[in-house]
Structures are given as structure tokens and as C-alpha cells.
């Protein structure tokens, strides 16, 4: 069941352009699947009228805690990143559908680009708890884009690319040598659209099942306003309600 709840910012870590926000609620959290998102109300920013959809980076159910990894891209997220410990942040959650969980024994590759790595942390954690150790392929423009790399590495074998070559293999995630060395049963992707399209193409060539997480501009986050639609084989569908995770076979890419 979805809820609207006030969270208290209990810890914050600054990564420059991005910020990690650890938020605690007084209420027990609802069930949250990896890949689902929250709608955050941005208070005190006159130019920010609508909530901001943010992916869920981590969840600690015992403490009623949700962690968000927020990249500052506009006024809304800049404001959010300026929140201070003790501040109250109102969220609607959980929204959308998560990644499809694999069967035990399936080889999973989680591909993240830029801030798109955010939801893969909670996903990898849940997979580990299910006894599936995923492989991670994380890409950034440069070394400092690869946030919490050491923590990701604990959750699975982790490969890295950077466009400037400052860490891992130089280039895009689709150019990494792991594609030649290993094969996978399921590929999950979150990142910029061109990157997701490139990975989806690669997966299709290899005839591998692939899910991507979209981030179209949203207003309601509940499937009511029909603003965030993506063109699919079933016509225009709301990313917020029917996604944000889609099997690439459903998309008209």
C-alpha cells in the first residue's frame, strides 16, 4: 500500500554534484521492491511546484529508513540537496513497479550509468539476500561519478568504465571487455536513455532478456495525469505506473 509520510533527514553525505540522503520515518515502511521510486516534495523552492521522482537507493526496514542518492540537475534537486540533518522531507512511496526478480541460479548483470547506478544498490542487496550474486557494470564520465564503488563491490563482481579512462576501462559500458568474457541470463539497466538504448541493443543481439528503468518527466507519479508516457507496443503507457521498469521488448526503441 502506498503512503504519504514525513521523513527526517538523519544523515547526509556530500559527493559534490550528488548527495546521499538517509531518511527515517516514524511509520513502518510499506513493502518496497528494488526499482520502485518515491515522489519527494520540495519545500521552500518557489520555482519547484511538483514533486520530484527519485529512485530508491537503499532501504533498512528495521529502522524505517530509506536512502536516496540525488544528483543536482535543476532547482528542485538543488534544493533537496541543500537539506540539512533534522529537516523533514515529505515523500509519497513506493511508486511504480520494480525489477523482475531472477530465478535462483540465473546469471544477472546490473548495468548502471551515472546517477543511474542509484537503484542498483538496493537491487543488488535484495539479490544477495535471495542467494543471487549479481555482476555489476558501472559507468561514468569520470572517476568521481562512480559513487560508493567499494560498497557496490561487496555485493557482486563489479566492473567499471569511465569515458575519460580515469577508472576501469576507458569508454562506454557497452565497450567493456566483460561482454566478451561472460554471458548472462538477465540484464538490468538504469542510466541515461542513449546508454540504456545501447545496452538494450547489445542485449537484443545476444538474445538476452533485458529490463530498463526509465525516468520520463512526471507530474503525479500515480498514473493519473498521463504526462510521463512512453511509446510501447501497447501504445502510450505511463512510466510512473506501468514502469519505471520495462522489458525492452515492450518498448518501441
Amino acid at each position: 500500500m502506498k503512503q504519504i509520510a514525513d521523513f527526517k533527514l538523519i544523515a547526509k553525505q556530500d559527493y559534490g554534484r550528488s548527495v546521499l540522503l538517509r531518511l527515517r520515518s516514524k511509520r513502518p515502511l510499506p513493502d518496497i521492491m528494488p526499482g520502485q521510486f518515491v515522489q519527494v516534495r520540495v519545500d521552500g523552492s518557489p520555482s519547484t511546484y511538483l514533486r520530484r521522482p527519485i529512485s530508491i537507493h537503499d532501504v533498512e526496514f528495521e529502522q524505517n529508513e530509506i536512502t536516496l542518492l540525488v544528483q543536482q540537475v535543476g532547482e528542485g534537486t538543488r534544493h533537496l540537496a541543500a537539506a540539512e540533518e533534522g529537516d523533514t522531507i515529505n515523500m509519497v512511496l513506493p511508486l511504480g513497479n520494480g525489477f523482475s526478480l531472477p530465478e535462483k541460479g540465473e546469471r544477472c548483470l546490473l548495468v548502471g550509468g551515472g546517477i543511474g547506478i542509484a537503484p542498483l544498490y538496493y537491487f543488488a542487496k535484495v539479490l544477495n539476500a535471495k542467494g543471487v550474486r549479481p555482476t555489476l557494470l558501472l559507468g561514468g564520465k569520470t572517476d568521481t561519478d562512480l559513487l560508493r564503488l567499494a560498497d557496490y563491490q561487496k555485493l557482486g563482481e563489479t566492473f567499471v568504465t569511465t569515458e575519460d579512462g580515469s577508472r576501469g576501462e576507458k569508454g562506454f559500458v557497452t565497450m567493456h571487455s566483460v561482454w566478451q568474457k561472460q554471458s548472462f541470463d538477465k540484464i538490468y539497466v538504469c542510466g541515461p536513455k542513449p546508454m540504456m538504448k545501447a545496452v538494450a541493443k547489445l542485449a537484443a543481439e545476444k538474445n538476452v532478456w533485458c529490463e530498463v528503468s526509465l525516468e520520463n518527466l512526471m507530474a503525479c507519479g500515480l498514473g493519473a495525469c498521463l504526462c510521463c508516457v512512453e511509446d510501447t507496443v501497447d501504445g502510450h503507457v505511463c512510466v510512473c505506473k506501468e514502469g519505471p521498469v520495462f522489458n525492452t521488448r515492450r518498448l518501441k526503441w
Binding site: M1, L217, A219, G221, L222, C225, H236
Partner: protein
Amino acid sequence: MTIDLGRGLVLRNPVMTASGTFGYGEEYTDFVDLAQLGGIIVKGTTLNPREGNPYPRMAETPSGMLNCVGLQNKGVQYFIDTIYPRIKDFDTNVLLNLSGSCLDDYVKGAEMVDALEKIPAIELNVSCPNVKQGGMAFGVTTTGISQVVSEVRKVYHKHLMVKLSPNVTNIAEIALAAEAAGADSVSLINTLMGMAIDAEKRKPKLSVITGGLSGACVKPVALRMVWQVAKAVKIPVVGLGGISNATDAVEFMLAGASAIEIGTANFIDPAVSAKVAWGINEYCERHGFANAAELTGALL
């Protein structure tokens, strides 16, 4: 607290949710007990299915947003077969917002909806700014509105609410024409035509360039129009446009509205509609009104 809008449409309280902002009600049941609302007006529906406009369909603006959804819906028959059975037993009035691109579509659609026992009213959308023939052509002239309302009136026997466009010179004139043609009530305002540009990219932000503006920013315009229309017509006026809290709602009622609709505010607080209903009650108690109906036109 009961609000009687005429021809069988009786609301438990003055608060309804605006079409296109509340889905089919189902999307909001985790947040709002629908029994707390006077009614819900479900998504704009046309006789035939429509895919709507391409993405992007939304642009945020100061204290508001533009949309150009373009009446995406699966058509009246799909509504009847698939959605109606799911929502007909909601403990509130379920109104259907009906739109069309030609006179015949409105009439056929209204005939089909007339047969639905649990839909007590149509909100006739003659004011969608986002499709070429989204009905706004009907809604911006007195002859256009007379024609569509009188034709629909012939086949539709329940409460006929007509949703007016603010994109006109004299909205009172349009409202009078709707009343004369047989409307039981008018609701206003639909969205204001607007536009947003991304200066860096030198491109419009919306796929079809223009869209409808809604949200808190339109409230003063909506309030003024509700006041003008309420002075002009004898039928009930339903006010909407930027209502975000109970005080806003009370202002619309003081200006002459018998009931109100909450639209874009549902996106910011999915529970706002029930809060507004509660807050109107609280205002009535505080100011010595025996019921919300007494607020209508009670501007000093």
C-alpha cells in the same frame, strides 16, 4: 453539508476531483477515502480511443504546470466494459468527463453514458485546448456551445454539467449560452492556453508547442471568472482552477460557486481532496454557517 446541483446530482459535500487529475479514483484510494468526497470526475473520455499527443507532455512553470496530454483515453465503449464495472460502486458520485471532436461524437457518447445507472452526471468538455478538435472550437463561441449542449441535452437525461474554457473574451456570455441550451450546471475553468520554451535548447518544452496551464498560478483568473459567471447565470456554478487548500475552496464558494473541483493539487498532495472537505466544514463551524451551501455567493 449536502449540495444539490439539480436534476438528481446531490453531493455529500462541495468537493469533487477534477477530470484528468484523479485518474479513475482507483489511483488515489490508498490516500483518500472516496466517501469523504462529493464526487470524482473521471478522465476525459471520447467516443473513439485516442493515443494522445507525443511525449513530452508536461512542463513545470512557476506555481503551476503546462500539459498537452491530448485526451489520451480508450474510448467510451472501453470505459463502459472495463472501467465502469470497477468503479461504479464507489461510495461517491462518479461523473464522466465527455469530450469529442465533432457534434456526432458528443451525442453518441452521451447516449451511451446515459444508460449507465451509476453515473449521475456528465461533465461536458467543450474546452480542451490540447487537440485540434478537442471541443474547444465548440466552447469558445456562443453558437458553438448552444449547438453542442442542446444536441447532447436531447439524448442525455441526467445532470449535464458543461466545463467552460477560460480562453475566451467574455466567459459569462458563453455560460449564459450553455444555460439557455439546457445545461444543469457549468464548471470552470479548464486550463489556460500557455507555452514554455527551453532557452538553452531553443526548443518548445511541449511536443505540440502549446498546452494548458493549471495549478496555483491560475487561481486569481479562475476566481474572477467564477465570480463573473455566478453573477450571470441561475444554474449552479462549479469552481476550479488552482484550488490547493480549504481556504482556496471557500474563496471560490464565496465568489458564487456551489461546489468546487480540485485538480493539479492532487499531484502535490494525493490526500488534499479529503483535507479540503474537512477544512470547509471547519470554516463553516468557525464562521457560523450551518452548512456549506450557505457559503455560495456569501461575499460581503
